[in-house]
């Protein structure tokens, strides 16, 4: 009897130790990519597709990925083009990646330009999605010129929360006005940096060369 009790307690202890040791979330990554489709920037969507494909090739089973568009008002689930949390089995994850790619391909074919650019709304939506995943590393990629333009009715001038989220601005192209006065470009990036750092972001980076993306998405 005592022997059985001892065995049972040992098994329980082992199971408890194993469950406390196994950690599914802390090692996973979650990436939320915002694709600017406003005005002339919508032409750059082909480059965004390359980045998404790169992400699909890099992310591992258990990771999460979502791609959302930035338009006049972006704080909406409807703006999420595709989202997925990859299965733990690599073969199943590959099937999901193929389906994701098909969705993105369909989006790229039908994308149209919007009148305004609501980056802040997209960031808030992205942070909510990332926090829900509970991933260890959370990243928001903003594929945009970082020029926010809001209509009069849209309110975004309030503090936002991006705690423990890395923000990476991709392909921040220079506008015509930036070429006239480069300080505008610098000032725009500095303003965004201040804003996201104030929001509690763990990192702010600007990457215009897509080849350097691996440095950002490398597993810690």
């Amino acid at each position: 009897m005592m022997k059985h009790l001892l065995l049972a307690s040992l098994s329980l202890a082992w199971a408890a130790a194993l469950s406390s040791c196994t950690d599914q979330r802390s090692h996973s990554q979650a990436v939320y990519m915002l694709v600017d489709t406003s005005g002339t920037y919508a032409q750059e969507v082909g480059k965004a597709q390359v980045i998404i494909n790169y992400l699909l090739g890099t992310l591992q089973p258990g990771d999460s990925l979502a791609v959302a568009r930035v338009k006049s008002r972006s704080f909406s689930e409807k703006d999420i083009i595709a989202k997925v949390t990859f299965d733990n089995r690599p073969s199943q994850a590959n099937v999901q990646k193929r389906a994701f790619k098909e969705k993105i391909d369909a989006f790229v074919k039908t994308v149209g330009g919007s009148a305004y650019t609501d980056i802040t709304g997209g960031l808030i939506q992205g942070s909510m999605f990332l926090n829900e995943t509970g991933a260890g590393t959370k990243t928001i990629l903003i594929f945009s010129d970082m020029q926010e333009e809001l209509d009069k009715a849209t309110i975004r001038d309030f503090p936002i929360k991006l705690k423990d989220i890395r923000i990476v601005a991709l392909n921040v192209v220079k506008l015509k006005t930036d070429n006239i006065d480069p300080r505008r470009y610098m000032g725009r990036l500095e303003a965004w940096q201040k804003r996201v750092e104030a929001a509690g972001a763990s990192e702010w980076r600007v990457i215009n060369d897509i080849e350097r993306l691996d440095a950002v998405l490398g597993r810690s």
């Binding site: 040791c21 599914q24 494909n53 790169y54 090739g57 591992q60 690599p90 073969s91 994850a93 590959n94």
Partner: protein, 472 residues
């Protein structure tokens, strides 16, 4: 500051004021320094002595263990040699009566044949002398004598021819007998060669046995020579087994990478235990289980003796363990082969996905049989490596046994070095405090000089007083 703006002068004045006090406290300070020196140096020296004594004890213990182990090992060797000799004697000497009979029969036959060869044809008859006498008769003028002689000649010639024929026939038969000797000689030579070979083998084994017995005696006498030989042997075994274990670790590493990836299909690719993925842990566990099964297999086969409990089991039970471990090993090997196949399929799937993501044109496929080579090789590797890993038990046993000696020797060395360092430190501390005492005296050299002068003056006065006292 006593002298404002002049630190040096202030310090000198302070020193001058302090000097009488320093002189007054000289004995106390000396005692203090000596005490501190003893207080620190004493335990250090004591510690050093204790460490040296411990090292001696450990060396003795190591020696005892080494000799006991060596005795057991040589004893087993002798036992095995005796078994071998026993088997040799049983196998070879059992057949000796038959062999002896065969040799004797062959010798008898050869002797008989030899005797037959020795029979010479009968000597020429006595009438030869009569013919010789008749031949001396003069026959020049007698026709009759001539005829008689011619008749005799004819008869003699025919008899001679007949005798010669008989003689030749006798030699021919003897040659035939001699020719018949050859196979018997060859057989005899072969049999005797076999006997010689077996006896030489027996002699070699007995020489080996002698050497082992001598070694055993040396160990029994606990001689330094035996200890040295066993230590050297242990070090060699340690190095060799460590090398083989390293090679086995390389094999295990290859095995690990072969199954770690497909294991993620079973246990998930993103579940972690600490810093390791569960799939990697599972792969590692499978490899370790294989090694354990190999260990039991070797134990059951009595090749290794790491578990006395298994060695002491009955033959039937041992055979059961053998079959169980072998079956599990085969199953695990089969699983590994399947995982290796799955790995190949996963890699192919990944490559296809990457190609579709890169929108690159599909690569021109190689011939089917060429694509199958790596797959087949991986499957064979997956199946073979567990069996190869099973043999790790043999070097592991050597490693474990020799590690006791090597580790013990290293520990003794370490303790000795620690003891040496402590002794050096103890001496250093004592000498340092002696130097401090001297330095203290240097600082109060002025009062000390005065003291010496006063003492010498007093000494002179005392001597003068003594002389006067003697005179009076």
């Amino acid at each position: 500051m006593i002298w404002p703006g002049n630190a040096m002068a202030s310090a000198l004045i302070l020193f001058a004021i302090a000097m009488p006090f320093l002189y007054a406290g000289r004995k106390v300070v000396h005692d203090l320094f000596r005490s501190i020196g003893h207080m620190i140096g004493g335990p250090l020296r004591l510690g050093a002595r204790w460490l040296f004594a411990t090292a001696r004890d450990m060396k003795e213990r190591n020696k005892a263990v080494l000799l006991a182990h060596g005795k057991e090992e040589v004893g087993q060797l002798i036992e095995r040699e005796f078994e071998r000799v026993g088997a040799l004697v049983t196998r070879d000497l059992e057949g000796y009566p038959a062999l002896q009979r065969k040799v004797l029969e062959e010798i008898t036959r050869v002797e008989e044949d030899y005797k037959k060869c020795g029979e010479v044809p009968p000597p020429p008859p006595d009438w030869v002398e009569a013919v010789a006498a008749i031949s001396k008769i003069k026959s020049e003028h007698s026709e009759m004598v001539k005829r008689i002689l011619e008749e005799i000649k004819r008869s003699v010639e025919s008899i001679h021819a007949k005798t010669l024929d008989e003689y030749r026939r006798a030699y021919e038969s003897r040659h035939k007998i001699l020719n018949g000797f050859m196979p018997f000689w060859r057989s005899l030579d072969k049999t005797l060669g076999q006997v010689d070979k077996k006896l030489t083998g027996l002699q070699d084994t007995s020489q080996k046995l002698d050497a082992q017995m001598e070694k055993y005696e040396q160990i029994n006498k606990k001689t330094d020579k035996a200890e040295h030989a066993l230590t050297v042997s242990a070090f060699t075994q340690f190095a060799i087994s460590a090398l083989v274990l390293l090679i086995a670790a390389g094999g295990a590493f290859v095995n690990f990478w072969l199954i770690a990836r497909p294991m993620s299909e079973m246990v998930g690719g993103n579940v972690y235990v600490g810093p390791l993925r569960v799939s990697e842990v599972a792969a590692l566990v499978i490899i370790l289980v294989e090694a354990a099964m190999g260990l039991f297999l070797m134990e059951a086969l009595r090749i290794t003796h790491l578990f006395p409990r298994i060695a002491n089991l009955s033959d039937q039970m041992r055979r059961r363990i053998l079959w169980i471990s072998l079956t599990l090993l085969v199953i695990l090997a089969g699983i590994e082969a399947a995982l290796a196949l799955m790995r190949d399929m996963l890699i192919a799937d990944d490559q296809a996905l990457r190609q579709s993501l890169a929108a690159a044109p599909q690569q021109v496929g190689r011939a089917d049989w060429l694509r199958d080579i790596p797959t087949g090789a991986q499957m064979i590797l997956g199946f073979m490596l567990p069996f190869a890993l099973a043999f790790v038990a043999i070097p592991l046993e050597s490693f474990v046994h020799s590690a006791r000696t090597v580790g013990g020797a290293a520990l003794v060395m370490l303790v000795r070095v620690a003891g040496f360092v402590l002794r050096i430190l103890g001496n250093f501390v004592r000498q340092m405090f002696k130097v401090l005492i001297t330095l203290y005296d240097v600082t109060i050299v002025l009062p000390l000089l005065i003291e010496r002068m006063v003492k010498s003056a007093r000494g002179g006065a005392d001597v003068e007083l003594g002389r006067r006292a003697v005179k009076s």
